[in-house]
Subunit: 496 residues, 2 copies
């Protein structure tokens, strides 16, 4: 496998790559080929200004929660992601829902203004709906919506429809107010521009999350007859349907499809129909509302999936809590309060604090390091694991709430943040391997082999530390961030 | 620098070696050349039986303290090494002296019986001394030594001597009882068997440690007129003289030299003159006696050299104490008591405990980890460093004393050992880097870059842990030992 030339032995890089987990590629410049060498494929973000809880959440504008394979789909009723990470049939994972919200909140601030194509607003933009013979349509003013709406009625015959032809490419986020009687539906037809391929997205009066039949993909939006605001990323909805049909994942379907028609069947009303590049704030508030409506008496969002965390520790039983869920939830709710001034968001954020002070052994998420330093546990195992990134995310939730509450408030969040920062600054060096970082401290609490952070988690640590270094001038934060960033470039601590 | 063949890039091993600190060599077997790859050049010893404080001290039978460059010489008065490690003019470093003692104690148990050539025992073996015209010799019985001795008198003229011709190669440890009036000396002449080279080792009535003049090397053995037992490794004495003369270090001088004559000048007496392969127990007891005679009121052996330990911590000022000195001292003294039954050794060992309970801030060596776990500090800096190998050596001293005291004793040593083992088992995982071990915990206490243990210290850790795993069945010890040994073979902890 090696080559030899006199006293020198040459080793194939394919071996070096696997053995040391380094990366390399040949780059050609200045007419000479160079072999470039790197230790990590992850990106470090150097914050340009101090972290602001009113603004983007860390680097989450780069997150795309809903495209992840472990997201089954966006639920039709709540408008939030459903996870299959630890439970194939799907469950609401509060951390993921909060990340979905925070990503959209952040994108809303960083992305350019979306294009909006109004289909029918009942006012200036009116669509010429095509009405089958046996169907009918009428326009009226709705006092609840305070807006003009359309009412439609069709028979049960499949060809009995109220529909419109559209021809929209590039933008795929449909939103509308809709109110459906049982057995009624909204269908969006997508067509492949090149191939003769048609996909039907049906939003139906059902409590079933998602089901599919050939090119038909069905999302249940609930059965109650009431106004709902639907905001659907049609491409995501199509892809999640394909995933359910075990079709292979496709590259950039956004470039290949167009919306060809929108169809109403049954009995119902609709209003304010439009298609946009994005509707980030709608997704964000869907997450915020989910958090308010599902929060339990102790302020927690239980995770309803059994979680196997590590060998040698009992599984977390369905109904466990995560400090990361609590912290992320608080970050969502604090922003929702900031944007809406709706005090119910603030109260929910404040309620979410309490579980952070309940020990893991009592159903909470609090661990103590050597009986002395508090740690908010992403996974509240017994014994504790001291996961680093989840702890820091929890601290950010506390910071967010404290700032949004206002500097002069008597703030439990502030006290919890301060206590946590003392723990962080004390324990942070224990996570240093001299060439990377530990994901958690299981080697100390369980006495097992260390759990090294893979590079993307290490990069998360570095990004989190740069952010915190802007909030706290203790040199341990900035020095650790810099040293750990150096590890990603192949630097290592010295040996004696 | 690299080579390329289609899609594969070949890297020179000389680069890989430096970059990753791995070692490799080509080995030829079965008519094919193989490239063998290793991560560490250090050796791990798997103990064959439970550690016994009456026996060898860990793996110290492999130590050769006196040949180290940082040993200036073996002092003529005390018979113990003088260190130049932190103080070029030389100082007594208790840790080094104890290691010298423990190495010789261990070698005495593991090496074959030494050859002994009796030159003159005043009884069965009498040498025919050559006496110059103006010199004289007589034999008599000495009541103090309880042995026949020779008395010699010469004039101040250089050719006035009492001497004997010997021709001894291979064995070079001279021992004798000697009592010299001022300006008297013992000289040993060494000759290179190949080259015409003569070296004169002079043991003189002086308090000067060592001085040289061309081929003459002088060791002061003190000025008081009293019986002394001299035990000198002549090769070591010659090499240390050469080092002082800035002569290059020579390979295996033991094979190239012979002892050609022994010369007395001035006024004095001598007895029991012999040359042996080794006199390990004499060296061991020299160390033990030094420890008893220099111990201070608080039981300590102060280190009389300023020690710069790490950036960002104040230097240890001359007079500092080391838990490792205390522990090694106890290991020497416990064995000296075991061998001699002289209770003064036992009392000195017990006195040495007290400083282990005095905080570093009060001139002692005790640090506390998070106010909870005691640590005996090799270097009692403020803040503490938590050096691992020195701590474990201290624990071994405590264990040695406890066992030698007898199982039924009410033992402070036992309590200190037990407390220390709890600390060790609690903190040990913190020293795990996932691919090696930390030498100390300065990254945690000082917030600086970690201080990785180089491979020989890592191997020491592994050896120490295998030893302790034989004394304590807690799986953390044996599991850590095995995992850390794996790191030396290139294994690494998994990442998530």
């Amino acid at each position: 496998m090696c080559r030899r030339d006199h006293d020198e032995v040459y080793m194939p890089f394919s071996f070096i790559h696997k053995y040391f987990e380094v990366y390399g590629k040949i780059s050609s410049s200045d007419s000479t080929d160079k072999f470039e060498w790197s230790h990590s494929y992850s990106k470090v973000y150097h914050p340009k200004k101090k972290y602001d809880p009113h603004g983007t959440f860390t680097t989450f504008e780069n997150y795309n929660v809903e495209v992840r394979d472990r997201v089954k789909c966006i639920s039709g009723i709540e408008g939030v992601p459903v996870s299959t990470q630890w439970e194939p049939k799907g469950f609401f994972y509060p951390t993921q829902i909060a990340q979905f919200g925070l990503a959209h909140y952040s994108k809303n601030l960083t992305e350019p203004e979306p294009r909006v194509k109004v289909i029918d607003d009942g006012d200036k933009n009116l669509e010429n709906w095509i009405v089958s013979k046996d169907a009918s349509i009428s326009r009226e003013f709705d006092t609840e919506l305070k807006s003009n709406i359309i009412r439609f009625t069709t028979t049960e015959h499949p060809s009995s429809q109220v529909w419109c032809k559209v021809n929209i490419s590039q933008d795929f986020v449909l939103s509308l107010d809709v109110r459906l009687k049982p057995n009624s539906s909204l269908t969006v037809v997508l067509q492949n521009k090149d191939k003769k391929e048609t996909v039907y997205l049906h939003y139906v009066t059902s409590t079933q999350l998602i089901y599919t039949l050939d090119e038909h993909i069905y999302y249940g939006i609930g059965i109650e007859y009431k106004w709902r605001r639907l905001t659907r990323d049609l491409i995501i909805d199509m892809q999640k349907g394909w995933a359910l049909l075990d079709k292979p994942k496709r590259k950039s379907p956004r470039n290949k499809f167009r919306i060809s028609s929108i169809i109403f069947s049954g009995n119902g009303s609709a209003a304010n129909i439009r298609v946009s590049t994005s509707e980030h704030m709608a997704h964000f508030f869907a997450a915020a509302r989910w958090l308010v409506s599902t929060q339990r008496a102790r302020g927690g969002w239980p995770v309803k999936a059994r979680r196997r965390v590590a060998a040698r520790v009992p599984d977390l039983k369905a109904g466990w809590h995560s400090a990361m869920s609590q912290g992320h939830g608080i970050s969502v709710l604090a922003r929702a309060y900031h944007r809406s001034k709706d005090a119910s968001y603030l109260r929910a954020a404040q309620r979410a604090l309490h579980l952070l002070d309940v020990p893991s052994t009592a159903g909470g998420v609090k661990a103590m390091w050597m009986d002395k330093y508090v740690w908010y546990e992403e996974y509240p195992t017994k014994p504790p694991l001291f996961v680093l990134n989840g702890f820091i995310y929890t601290l950010l939730g506390l910071y967010d709430l404290h700032v949004i509450e206002g500097e002069n408030s008597i703030s439990l969040a502030k006290k919890m943040f301060d206590d946590g920062m003392i723990s962080l600054k004390t324990l942070l060096p224990i996570f240093d391997t001299g060439s990377g970082s530990f994901y958690d401290l299981r080697h100390i609490t369980l006495g097992v082999s260390p759990n090294l952070a893979r590079w993307d988690y290490h990069a998360t640590h570095v990004n989190q530390l740069y952010l915190l270094a802007g909030l706290d001038s203790d040199p341990i934060l900035i020095n650790t961030a810099k040293r750990w960033e150096g590890y990603m470039q192949g630097r290592r601590a010295a040996h004696n």
